[in-house]
Point group: C2
Chain length 99, copies 2
Amino acid sequence: MKDVVKIFKALGDENRLKILHIIGSQEVCACKLLEFLEIGQPTLSHHMKILCDSGIVSSRKDGKWTHYKINKDTIKHTADYMQVTLFGNTAAQSCCNGC
Amino acid sequence: MKDVVKIFKALGDENRLKILHIIGSQEVCACKLLEFLEIGQPTLSHHMKILCDSGIVSSRKDGKWTHYKINKDTIKHTADYMQVTLFGNTAAQSCCNGC
DNA sequence: CTTATACATCGAAATTTGTCAATATAAAAT
DNA sequence: ATTTTATATTGACAAATTTCGATGTATAAG
């Protein structure tokens, strides 16, 4: 359960949610993220560490740059946890409206 | 977006996740929750306030007792936010495996 | 080789959060 | 009426979190 707590903690910050929105389904480097956020570079680095440590984001070094992308498995598992583990819904109840 | 941040913040605490697990799909009073947690009564009251303020839990007073239950709509919306809003998946992509 | 760029780490300050003891409130039991 | 029970609120404190400036570390460019 501590893993899940860590994930929700990571998601519970406005700047980090903004970061995830910017990344979206792409792969984005830190310098690009900095352009869209009103925080300093060390602060961004700190947030990226939290997002990576929780498993929400994964990083790839490419020369000078570090590229980040969202780890969709983690997101999927966490969303499933919310609907299934936490509230006893079956997968059928929690999705597939009308299937 | 601040509403979502508030929800994730509320979920990002081990005791509050335990509380949600205990409540499950039932309606539970505070005194029952206290039996299962290793925290004092004021602390529980504090946590319940956070869960209620975020919309995850709703409360009903019944004489001396306060009964809590999980607000499934909030959970559903948040899980949808994770899969759809945050990552641009369609509902079809994010669920309904094999439908 | 020197400089510039992209990012990480360190140390410190300010804010937020989790917890408890003490107290308050309100309903039920005696 | 008084006491007990269930819960909320207040005030205080320690711990965690967010942020920044300064500095470190690679890599690329000149």
